[in-house]
């Protein structure tokens, strides 16, 4: 650890610490101890939240086998059926669609910002991303409700019906636009600022010498990006995508407002779905009279938390390494 540096040269008489200096050193030492305690807080909080959810969901976890909860297809709390599969698959579908829509344009925007854009362009695009990141979830929900859902209903679904009637995951089985696709579209926009800024930062870690080495041989910029940069930062890009996915997994209000919330296992992007966060938001805090109901909902929260913790820890570790240029 770091020794106190209070013993300074304030006294002209020599190197003996003066009383004032000693007091300062002491307060420095005391501060160090208190403050170091502070930094344990985040770790403690993560453990606390996980443990809390585990304890509260223990009643249901100890009553039903785990596979009945994870792979049970029926959710009827009044009949003591707590199958979470519809909600888990719903979450996965919506997240996957959102990430698939979001990643290609976001990668390109990040690459443009780091490789092509001038400073002036960058300072123009930066505020757009900041604003997009600042917009509250519920406003995204409003937008989804009045723009995306009708758009999917009136334009995308008739088109898919006519153009791809035999592709299973594009099958149109329900009349409204409240669907996996609507949720995915809203999520795609919501995670865009995060994806773009993380990929941009990852690209910044590549030393300029590498770009120049490739350009000096007469490679075009795109050849340089494709053959030198992207292979170099691929772990970082994957981590960014995983991070974006984990953000999408937990998104609640905006998604809840546009996916229809029908507890079924979706088989098409035009099916309604009911993701885990929406399940918790819609039901928790009410109907506590059914035994094990709240325990089941907290179990759902625990599952969500564990998936997201794993995603987050992995991607954050990779990104920390990438930023310290430790990937070689």
């Amino acid at each position: 650890m770091i020794p106190p540096i209070g013993s300074s040269t304030t006294g002209a008489t020599g190197w003996q610490p003066q009383p004032v200096a000693l007091a300062r050193a002491k307060s420095n030492e005391r501060a160090r101890k208190i403050f170091l305690g502070f930094t344990a807080l985040p770790v403690v909080l993560i453990l606390l939240v996980t443990l809390g959810l585990l304890i509260r969901s223990w009643p249901i976890l100890s009553t039903y086998p785990l596979q009945d909860l994870l792979f049970g297809e029926v959710w009827k709390p009044s009949k003591m059926l707590f199958g979470l599969l519809p909600f888990i698959t719903g979450t996965v579908w919506i997240t996957a669609v959102g990430v698939l829509i979001s990643v290609p344009p976001c990668l390109l925007v990040a690459i443009y910002l780091s490789e092509y854009a001038h400073d002036s362009t960058r300072s123009f695009i930066r505020p757009i991303l900041d604003l997009l990141a600042a917009i509250p979830s519920v406003v995204f929900g409003v937008w989804g409700l009045v723009t995306i859902v009708p758009f999917v209903e009136s334009t995308v679904m008739p088109f898919a019906k006519a153009a791809f009637p035999y592709i299973p995951f594009l099958k149109v089985d329900q009349p409204t636009g409240f669907s996996v696709l609507s949720g995915g579209l809203v999520l795609a926009v919501m995670i865009a600022p995060l994806l773009i800024s993380v990929v941009y930062e990852v690209l910044l870690t590549v030393p300029n010498d590498l770009r120049r080495a490739s350009l000096a041989i007469g490679a075009t910029q795109w050849e340089t990006i494709r053959r030198v940069l992207i292979p170099q930062v691929l772990p970082g890009i994957i981590a960014a995508v995983v991070l974006g996915a984990s953000r999408a997994l937990g998104e609640t209000i905006a998604v809840l407002m546009v996916v229809g919330n029908v507890p079924q296992i979706p088989t098409s992007i035009f099916d309604a779905a009911y993701p885990l966060p929406a399940l918790i938001a819609n039901n928790y805090g009410e109907m506590m009279s059914i035994p094990l109901y709240d325990s089941a909902l907290l179990g759902a929260a625990l599952i969500l938390l564990i998936i997201i913790l794993i995603f987050n820890v992995l991607s954050v570790i990779v990104l920390q390494r990438v930023k310290q240029r430790k990937w070689e």
Binding site: L45, P136, V142, P277, V313
Partner: protein
């Protein structure tokens, strides 16, 4: 050496650039579309009554009143949450920089902050409510503030940490060389130098706090009355939007859009305000 534009690589380069431009237009266009939607839908119903009154009887069936309860509630919730988060995160960010630096322990703390940031707010909300049941607490302003401070803590701390880490190295060494202790360096040199960044971090967290619905859904509850004490339930803007849009009455839904517009305006003002403020404050900092 004459350029042949029809060479494959030049066509590819041009194509890629076009697709990039298109992607930027897509992202920027989404932002514009969102703002335009909220303004177009919200403006017609946005009256003085909306921002100056609490809901009257029959409000949720289309009768008179406004969402002042939610506006004030949100300000209290986010304000309290931000203050509490600040009290924890400023020392934490300073410790991270001053005592831990880039050590293993520092990486671990940063990792856990990033992970904490990634935990969905609905999980915080559910966790908070579970604890409240355990303690026999009812949903209240205080509970909402506590949960929001949890939501804001990692955002604020990481933002501050980044700012502090970007501080010019020489400045700190100069202060240490003058005989300052680490604590003095932190409070007298690091904080003033970093003030603009710190304010940006605070406002960033405030913006996140005021816009979040999932965390206050169970913890702060909802009421038509103005928040009166820390222990009473409190309305919030995101939930006002959400609840009003869940009703079948068109007039109420209109007011839901107006509430969304109010929320958007608050968030944009905070966002632009932090930009302007930090630009003004950074006049005297060493670059």
């Amino acid at each position: 050496m004459i350029k042949n534009f029809w060479k494959r690589k030049h066509i590819v380069e041009l194509f890629v650039k076009l697709v990039m431009m298109f992607s930027i237009a897509l992202v920027g266009g989404s932002l514009l579309l969102i703002l335009a939607t909220v303004v177009a839908r919200g403006l017609p119903a946005l009256t003085w009554e909306m921002v100056s009154q609490t809901p009257k009887g029959g409000f949720y069936m289309g009768k008179g009143g406004g969402v002042l309860n939610a506006i004030l509630g949100s300000l209290y919730l986010a304000g309290g949450g931000t203050a509490l988060a600040l009290a924890l995160s400023l020392p934490m960010a300073l410790v991270l920089k001053t005592y831990l630096g880039d050590s293993k322990a520092g990486s671990l703390v940063r990792l856990s902050l990033d992970v904490l940031w990634g935990i969905p707010t609905i999980v915080y909300g559910a966790f908070g409510f579970a604890v409240m049941i355990l303690l026999g607490m009812r949903s209240s302003l205080l509970a909402g503030i506590l949960i929001l401070s949890l939501v804001e803590l990692p955002i604020m701390t990481r933002a501050m940490d980044e700012v502090i880490r970007r501080m010019p190295k020489g400045l700190e060494h100069a202060a240490l060389a003058l005989g300052s202790t680490k604590l003095e360096v932190a409070t007298k040199v690091v904080v003033p130098q970093m003030l603009p960044g710190i304010i940006t971090a605070i406002l960033l967290a405030f913006g996140r706090g005021i816009g979040d619905a999932a965390s206050v859904l169970f913890t702060a509850g909802y009421t038509d009355r103005l928040p009166s004490s820390l222990m009473s339930p409190t309305a919030s803007l995101p939930l006002a939007v959400f609840f009003q849009l869940s009703t079948p009455y068109p007039a109420v839904r209109e007011r839901g859009y107006a509430s969304a517009l109010i929320l958007t305006i608050v968030v944009l003002v905070v966002s632009f305000g932090s930009r302007a403020l930090s630009a003004k404050l950074s006049k005297y900092t060493v670059k």
